[in-house]
Amino acid sequence: MAFVRAYFRSPPAVIGLFLLLCVIAMAVSAGWFFPRDPLALAGRPLVWPFANPRFPLGTDNSGRDIAAQIFYGARISLLIGGVATVIAVIIGIVIGAVSGYYGGWVDNVLMRITEAFQTLPNFLLLLVLVAVFGSNITTVIIAIGIVSWPAPARLTRAEFLSLRNREFVQAGRTLGLKDMKLIFGEILPNALPPVIVYASVVMAVSILLESALAFLRLSDPNVASWGNLIGLGRDVLRVQWYVSAIPGIAILVTVLAVSLVGQGLNDALNPRLKGR
C-alpha cells in the first residue's frame, strides 16, 4: 500500500496513468463507437477535421474515417506493446538469469549471442525478419519481441551478478537450497523490480518500432495501425497534413504515457532515487 501511495504522490506518474487509461479506454470502446470496419470506405476522401460532424477527425485519402482508425489503432498499439514486451522480457529474464547465475562458459556463450543481437542494428534485423516471414500482425509482434530481448537480458544478468554473491543467497545455499529455488525463489524476486520498470521502456520502443515499420508499409496492411495512416498521409502531406499529424499525436501520447508510468513505478520502488 505504501507503494501505491508513493506512486500517487508524483504528479507526472498520475498524469501518465491517466493518459494510459484514456488510451486503454479508446481501445476498449472502439467497437462500440465505431461498429463498422475502420478500413472500409466511409465517405468523401480528405475531409478536414471538424468540417463534417460525421467525421470529427476527418477522412484520409481513400475516404476512411480517421477517428475510427485512431480508436482501432489504440488496440493494435497496445496489443503490440503488450505482447512484444512480454515476449522480450521473458526471453530476457531467462537468458539473463541463467547467464548471471551460472557465469563461466554458459555466461560467455549467452553473452556472445546477446552481443551479436546488439551489434546488429535492431531495426535492420526487424526488416530481415519481416522480409523472411512476411508481415502479418502475429509475425510482426513476435519479430519485435525477438529484437528487443537483449537489453532486459543484460539488465537481469547485471542484477543477478550483483545478487548471486549477496550473503542471503549464500545463506540459502548453505541451507541446501537447489539452484532453481535459489534462482527463482531467492534472487529473481529481488532482481525483478528494475526489470519490470525497464519493461516500460521496451513497451515504448515496441510501439515506436511497429509504427516505423507500418510507416514504411512493411507491417500488416489489413489492420488499422497508426503508423499505416501516417505513411498514407505522406502522399498528401503538402496540403492535407492532418492525415499524418493526428495519428502521430496518438503515438506520442501513448508512448509518453507508458514512459511516465514506468518512471512513476521506478520512483515509487526506489524512493531514495526520487527525482533522478
Binding site: 549464500q170 545463506a171 541451507l175 529481488n190
Partner: protein, 544 residues
C-alpha cells in the same frame, strides 16, 4: 594536556535539525564542545549518535533538508554559522580541514594524487605550477609515503588503502589548518595500517600544534590517541573530560555501558576441551584466476595455501587475520560455498570436499554458517519466520511444523516469537543477526561457521550477541569456527586461534598462549597494533 591554552574552535549549544519524518527531530541538540590547539578531542559514540553530523555541521556541509537551528560555531573570532557561503569556502580547507573514513571513495578516481593535493594551493594561495609541485612533494614526504614522486603521479586506485589515507592527510594538512577534523579515518583500514596512521596523525599534530577533532566509534582508538573525550548518544553529549578520567572512571551510565562492552584483550581462563575432533581441515588450498582472455593476462591469487586446522568437539576456533588473509575464503571452503582445489574437510569422519553437489546439499544440516552483514544476509522479501523455517522445510520438514519451530528458535535467540510475521527491515541490526543465528540453528548443526558475525554491530549490541553465542554454545554443545579481524572479540570467545596471513596459517594454538606469548613476528605485530592495548589488558575480562 593543554587546558590553559584558549580554545581554537568552540561549539556553543549547537543544534542541527533533521527533516520532518526522521526518527528524531534533531541530529544533535545543544552540543557544546571546545577544542584547543595542540590537543586531540575524540568524539565517540555508536552509529546514529550524531557524531559525524557534528563534523558536517562545523564545515556547514550538511545534507539537503538538514540545517543548523541554533547555537554557534566560534572559530578565529567569527561565528561560522553566520558566514556567507563565499566566506565559509575560505575557511574550508585552509582554516579547518577534513579527512574521511573511506580514502578510496573520498578521492576523485580520475585525477592523480598530486593534482588533487595541488588543488588546495591552486584555490587558496597564489602559488603556481612548479611551486605547487614542490610543495606537494614535500607534503607527501612529510606523511611518509614511499616514493613521493611516484605517488604524486599515481591515481587513487594505484595506491594501497594506507597510502591513500596518507595522501588524504597530506591534502588536509597542505595549508597548515588550525583544526583538523578526522571522521573515522582508520575504520576502513586493517589493524596494522591503522596503527601507522594513528601514529602519523599523533606525530603531525604534535609537530604542527594542530587541534584535532577525532570522530570514532572505537574505544581502543580513543585510548590510543585522545587527550580529551566527549561521548555522544542520540545527538547529545552525555559526558566529556580528560581521556584518562573518562576511560578509567566514567560517570554517565551510557559511558560505563559502552566501556564495559569493549572486550578486553586478555583471554579468560581456558575451558576444558574434548579430546574428540569434530572438524579437521587438512591441507586445504584454493587459488583464484581472474581476468585474462584466451589465456592471456591471467592473474592467480593463492587465497588459501595448505591450511590445516582441527576443531575439538564443543570447542571454538578463531581464525584471525587482516583483509586479504584468506580467512573468509577458508570459511566458505569449509561449508563448500567455494570448492577447494585440494585438501580434506573432515566433518565427523566424512570428507565434505569429496561430496557431490547433491550430497553436500543434504550434508548442510550438519554444518551451518552465520554471515557478517545483518542487512545483506536476510532476503528482504521473506518474512523472518519463513527465513528461519526455510532450512528445515528444504530438509523435509512439514511447513507448519517448521514455522512452529521457528517461533521456538526465536525465543531461543532472545527474540519475540510473535515477530516471525515481520519482514527483515522491521528489525534492528542486532535483531537481524539473531535471526541469522536462528536460521543457522534451525537445522541443529554440529558445527557453526561464523564469518565476522559481530563485526558490523555497535559495541553494546556486539556484546549482547557474543553473550548469546556463548550461552548457546554451552546449551547446545555447538562447535564453532569463528572468523574475525577483531582480536579483542577473538580473545573473548575462542578456545583456540589460528592467525592467517596471505592465505597461510602462520601461528595456531590455545588462545591464551598465542595472545600471551606470540611466537611468529606477524602475530606479534598484529597484537602490538591493536589500539589502546593497555586499556584492554588491564581491565578484567567481563563474563562473556
Amino acid at each position: 594536556m593543554t587546558d590553559a591554552s584558549p580554545a581554537v574552535l568552540t561549539l556553543d549549544a549547537l543544534s542541527v535539525r533533521l527533516p520532518a519524518g526522521a526518527d528524531r527531530p534533531h541530529a544533535m541538540k545543544d552540543v557544546s564542545l571546545a577544542i584547543s590547539s595542540n590537543e586531540i578531542l575524540c568524539v565517540v559514540g555508536e552509529s546514529g549518535s550524531g557524531k559525524s553530523m557534528t563534523a558536517n555541521a562545523i564545515m556547514r556541509l550538511l545534507p539537503g533538508g538538514v540545517e543548523i537551528d541554533g547555537g554557534k560555531v566560534l572559530f578565529d573570532g567569527r561565528d561560522l554559522t553566520q558566514l556567507t557561503e563565499a566566506e565559509m569556502r575560505d575557511v574550508r580547507g585552509a582554516g579547518i580541514a577534513m579527512i574521511f573514513q573511506e580514502p578510496m571513495t573520498a578521492l576523485n578516481p580520475l585525477r592523480t594524487i598530486g593534482d588533487q593535493i595541488g588543488e588546495m594551493f591552486a584555490i587558496h594561495t597564489k602559488l603556481k605550477g612548479a611551486a605547487i609541485t614542490e610543495r606537494v612533494l614535500s607534503l607527501l614526504e612529510e606523511v611518509r609515503i614511499p616514493d613521493p614522486k611516484l605517488a604524486a603521479r599515481a591515481y587513487p586506485h594505484e595506491l594501497s588503502g594506507g597510502q591513500r589515507q596518507r595522501a588524504m592527510i597530506a591534502m588536509a594538512l597542505a595549508l597548515d589548518p588550525k583544526v583538523l577534523i578526522a571522521d573515522e579515518p582508520t575504520t576502513a583500514l586493517d589493524v596494522t595500517t591503522q596503527a601507522q596512521i594513528l601514529a602519523l596523525i599523533r606525530d603531525l599534530q604534535a609537530r604542527k600544534g594542530t587541534a584535532v577533532l577525532f570522530i570514532t566509534h572505537d574505544f581502543g582508538v580513543v585510548a590510543e590517541i585522545a587527550d580529551r573525550v566527549a561521548v555522544m548518544q542520540h545527538g547529545l553529549v552525555v559526558e566529556q573530560g580528560p581521556a584518562a578520567q573518562i576511560l578509567d572512571d566514567p560517570q554517565h551510565p551510557y559511558t560505563k555501558q559502552l566501556i564495559a562492552a569493549v572486550p578486553p584483550l586478555k583471554a579468560p581462563p581456558p575451558r576444558p576441551l574434548s579430546g574428540e575432533t569434530i572438524l579437521a581441515v587438512e591441507h586445504v588450498s584454493k587459488t583464484f584466476r581472474t581476468g585474462g582472455f584466451l589465456g592471456r593476462g591471467v592473474r592467480v591469487t593463492h587465497a588459501v595455501k595448505d591450511v590445516t586446522l582441527s576443531l575439538p568437539k564443543g570447542g571454538t576456533i578463531g581464525i584471525v587475520g587482516e583483509s586479504g588473509s584468506g580467512k573468509s575464503t577458508l570459511a566458505r571452503c569449509i561449508v563448500r560455498l567455494i570448492d577447494p582445489d585440494t585438501g580434506v574437510i573432515n566433518l565427523n569422519g566424512r570428507d565434505l570436499a569429496k561430496l557431490s553437489r547433491e550430497e553436500m546439499r543434504r550434508a548442510t544440516r550438519h554444518i551451518q554458517m552465520v554471515f557478517q552483514d545483518p542487512f545483506a544476509s536476510l532476503n528482504p522479501r521473506r518474512k523472518a519466520g519463513e527465513l528461519v523455517a526455510q532450512g528445515p522445510i528444504v530438509h523435509g520438514m512439514d511447513r507448519a511444523e517448521a514455522l512452529a519451530k521457528a517461533k521456538e528458535l526465536f525465543s531461543l535467540v532472545g527474540l519475540d516469537p510473535a515477530a516471525t510475521d515481520r519482514y527483515p527491515h522491521e528489525f534492528s541490526g542486532g535483531q537481524r543477526q539473531r535471526i541469522g543465528l536462528a536460521r543457522a540453528l534451525a537445522l541443529q548443526p554440529e558445527v557453526l561457521v561464523a564469518d565476522e558475525a559481530v563485526s558490523a554491530l555497535d559495541v553494546s549490541v556486539q556484546a549482547q550477541v557474543l553473550r548469546l553465542l556463548a550461552e548457546l554454545r554451552q546449551r547446545l554443545g555447538l562447535s564453532i569456527v569463528f572468523i574475525t579481524h577483531d582480536l579483542r572479540v577473538a580473545a573473548q570467545v575462542c578456545d583456540l586461534v589460528a592467525v592467517m596471513k596471505n592465505g597461510e596459517v602462520v601461528e595456531a594454538g590455545p588462545i591464551g598462549k598465542v595472545f600471551g606469548d606470540p611466537q611468529h613476528p606477524y602475530t606479534q605485530a598484529l597484537l602490538a597494533s591493536i589500539p589502546g592495548r593497555e586499556f584492554g589488558v588491564k581491565r578484567e575480562a567481563v563474563s562473556v
